[in-house]
């Protein structure tokens, strides 16, 4: 065992450090990218886009299931969007709670007919409802539909050439849609999709779909995710976007060309990460057709979303996400390291593979270190590994906070930053390892072909 450990220790530790070095490099790239984006935001032409007749209409697709707690706020936030032409299609995938009733009561929905294309196969759809108060608000019901199936119904129903996907518990800021559409307006030939920043709304004060005061949640699990979202989205997605190697646009808030999703055959229904899969699919199709395309992450239009506030729901969510990433990579595995796919095959997908394998490797590294202690073979190298590992994570988290502080801050001034630093430390010790465990289980689920359904639980907003 001692011999096995002596061989295993350096291998695992080196792999772990390589992964973190990639994250560190991502942080450095992101700092430059965020600086440029911050400057560009100060020269916003959103006002001009608002009056331009060439600003395209957008169909907002809101897939939901059992979202009775959040759905009214979500729809209110969408109705308040500042955008010239849009429609809202709430896609109910067979809620068993009062989601439908809540919508009917709140927005005066009445039964209606709605024409649909048959571009993406979806099976029977209905009933439909339309609001008598807001003619651009529709409820489309599709019994027993998962999120991807719901989105496909939305693709077939959508009126406009662009579709935005928004989660049933998400809240968009007033200018979010106009903001996220900017890259597409600036370069409509090349940019085929964009995604916005997602932040945790837990604990904040929400009135009629508007976040009126940003606060920290009372639950530590939710609070730690605030920093985690900043780190993963602001650092990694920004840097990947800058490299044109972005493979994840959060399903909570993304915008795509409808015709290209139709061409891809719609959202893939047999994965837990339809949002990752569709981006991969669109990028892959473009490369196969010889088209230059970009999918862009924007750090500024903000989508507020409810994050899990208990450890159990969080771990279940991460297990599902990780299984989904594995499924998406497996589906597009032929892209890996093929010159034909350029950055997609040599940067984007390998990075995602790193994300997939990172948690198991991290767990293995910790296990090896603990076993070494127990076997009495812990060397100074292993001890320094622990130190380096802690410092790497601390540096990444601090980098994210520093970057977020200037142009992308939402939390109030005062002690909030100090509080966030506390959550950074908590996130590094314990939280991160637990998440790695959940991801590992997700990977095992994928390998065993298990696809357990999990329904996110919602707590009423404060």
């Amino acid at each position: 065992m001692i011999l096995a450990l002596s061989i295993l220790i350096p291998i695992v530790i080196i792999m772990y450090l390589v992964i973190n070095a990639v994250y560190l490099a991502g942080a450095l790239l992101a700092s430059r990218e965020l600086r440029d984006v911050g400057r560009a935001l100060k020269r916003s032409v959103e006002r001009e886009a608002f009056v331009s007749p060439l600003t395209p209409g957008v169909s907002i697709l809101v897939p939901c299931r059992n979202e009775e707690v959040a759905i009214r706020d979500t729809v209110h936030s969408l109705l308040a969007l500042r955008y010239p032409r849009f429609e809202i299609l709430v896609l109910d995938g067979g809620s068993t709670d009062r989601t439908r009733e809540r919508l009917i009561e709140e927005f005066a929905l009445v039964p209606a007919w709605r024409a649909m294309r048959d571009t993406v196969p979806t099976g029977p759809v209905g009933p439909f409802y339309v609001s008598t108060r807001y003619p651009n608000l529709w409820l489309v019901c599709k019994p027993d539909a998962g999120k991807a199936e719901g989105l496909n119904v939305g693709i077939n129903t959508a009126l406009y050439p662009y579709v935005a996907t928004v989660d049933g518990d998400a809240l968009l800021e007033e200018g979010a849609l106009l903001g996220i559409v900017q890259p597409l307006l600036a370069d409509p030939d090349e940019v085929i999709g964009s995604g916005g920043m997602v932040r945790a709304v837990n604990g904040s004060v929400v009135e009629h779909g508007r976040v009126v005061e940003v606060r920290f949640p009372k639950q530590i699990v939710a609070a730690i995710q605030i920093e985690e979202y900043l780190r993963t989205l602001l650092l990694m997605r920004t840097s990947l976007s800058g490299l044109n190697a972005l493979m994840i646009i959060s399903g909570a808030f993304g915008l795509f060309r409808r015709d290209l999703i139709e061409e891809a055959g719609g959202y893939f229904t047999k994965t837990a990460a339809d949002d990752v899969e569709i981006v991969m699919h669109l990028q892959r199709l473009a490369r196969e057709q010889g088209r230059r395309t970009r999918i862009v992450f924007m750090p500024e239009p903000v989508c507020w979303t409810e994050v899990p506030d208990s450890l159990k729901t969080l771990l279940v969510q991460r297990r599902r996400w990780h299984r989904g990433i594995a499924e998406a990579i497996w589906r597009h595995r032929r892209v890996l390291f093929r010159p034909r796919y350029g950055r997609l095959g040599f940067i984007a997908l390998p990075y995602l593979l790193l994300e997939l394998l990172g948690p198991p490797i991290e767990l293995l590294a910790w296990a090896v270190v603990i076993l070494s202690v127990l076997a009495g073979v812990l060397s100074p190298t292993s001890l320094f590994f622990l130190g380096v590992s802690f410092m790497l994570n601390l540096v990444l988290a601090l980098a994210a906070l520093s970057m977020a502080e200037v142009d992308y801050r939402r939390h109030a001034a005062g002690g909030e930053t100090v509080r966030m630093l506390g959550y950074v430390v908590l996130g590094i010790v314990g939280y991160r390892q637990l998440l790695s465990g959940a991801c590992m289980v997700g990977l095992v689920d994928f390998l065993r072909g298990k696809r357990p359904y999990t329904q996110p639980t919602r707590r009423a907003r404060d």
């Binding site: 450090l17 001009e48 307006l185 540096v395």
Partner: protein, 338 residues
């Protein structure tokens, strides 16, 4: 060696963490100070800005920081006002030398600085910046060209319309932005837009038609009619819509002929245009089209029918062969009446 590497990495990362903590603290403290200063100065400076814009009252001597804040307040004001207030703002910025400073920055080597200067010049309201901004429509950097376009719109620079139209046709500036700006410039840009109607690139012709429909008058209709038979479908489609917007004479019959165009995009546009004109003679054709055509033209035909004669549409919706588009349009009519 392994230990040495880790020790080195540990020390380097510790230094990085301390530096980042320092950076975070400094940024936080600076932000707090700026926010407090802004809050303190905002009301006072808004009053100073309002006095300048409304009464032409020159601001008192200000500290450098306050002058900078006042400039920001005035830039915000300039985006919301028209008329003599903008002239007062321009005069003030000329007096304090801001326009000259920004014009000098336009020659900077750093693209972001040029872009920022081009943007600020639009809010500074000085027409003296127009020639330099037009020149920067040919800047090698996209951000600078976009900022210059936006500022020319803020300055309502009719004389820049030709440059913007050229830049748009050459795809040097984003199409949506250029169109928004040309609309902001207004009817003064129509002669330059008209030149797009004979452009070799169908996208430019199509945009020209669209803009002429929005900014032109009934007198421009004769220029648009020949484009109803343009070889490109998007141009024909935009011509249908533009002619209906200009409400030019007896265009109904010509548009009805386009309902049988080979391109579904044109049929949809013709249907929409006839709906806009509320052409009762087209109703039967539209109802038929709504029942039998492919998705987009059928949907447009059903919507147009609803605009022309909602009762006829509701009656048609009761028929067994009405189809999903007439049913949807009838639903919309019914829901609007609730």
């Amino acid at each position: 060696m392994g230990t040495g590497l880790f020790v080195g990495a540990f020390i380097a990362l510790s230094v990085a963490a301390v530096l980042l903590l320092g950076l975070l603290s400094v940024r936080r403290l600076r932000l707090l100070r700026t926010e407090r200063e802004l809050a303190r100065a905002a009301d006072r400076l808004r009053g100073v800005a309002a006095a300048l814009v409304m009464d032409g009252e020159r601001p008192p001597a200000l500290s450098t920081e306050d002058a900078e804040l006042l400039a920001r307040v005035l830039w915000d004001f300039s985006r919301q006002i028209t008329g003599s207030g903008r002239e007062e703002i321009a005069e003030y910025f000329e007096e304090v030398g801001l326009v000259d400073r920004q014009l000098a920055i336009l020659a900077s080597g750093a693209a972001w600085r040029r872009a920022q200067a081009a943007f600020v010049l639009g809010d500074a309201c000085s027409a003296r910046a127009i020639p330099a901004l037009v020149e920067h429509l040919r800047d090698p950097d996209t951000a600078v060209r976009s900022a210059a376009t936006r500022s020319l719109g803020r300055l309502r620079a009719t004389e820049a319309a030709g440059g913007i139209v050229d830049a748009m046709a050459d795809r040097r500036i984003p199409l949506a932005l250029a169109c928004g700006i040309l609309i902001e410039i207004g009817a003064g840009g129509v002669p330059e837009i008209t030149a797009l109607l004979v452009h070799t690139d169908p996208r430019s012709r199509s945009t020209g038609v669209q803009l002429l429909g929005l900014l032109g008058s009934a007198a421009d209709a004769d220029r648009l009619r020949p484009l109803l038979t343009d070889p490109d479908g998007s141009v024909r489609a935009q011509a249908c819509l533009a002619l209906s917007r200009l409400a030019a004479g007896d265009i109904g019959e010509t548009l009805r002929a386009r309902l049988s165009d080979a391109d579904p995009l044109v049929r949809a546009a013709a249907a929409e245009a006839l709906g806009e004109l509320q052409d009762e003679d087209a109703l039967d054709d539209l109802l038929h089209m709504a029942a039998v055509d492919v998705f987009d033209p059928a949907r447009a035909a059903a919507s147009a029918s609803a605009r022309i004669d909602p009762e006829a549409l509701l009656a048609a919706a009761t028929g067994l062969d009405a189809g999903q588009h007439i049913a949807e349009a009838a639903t919309r009519v019914w829901a609007a009446r609730q």
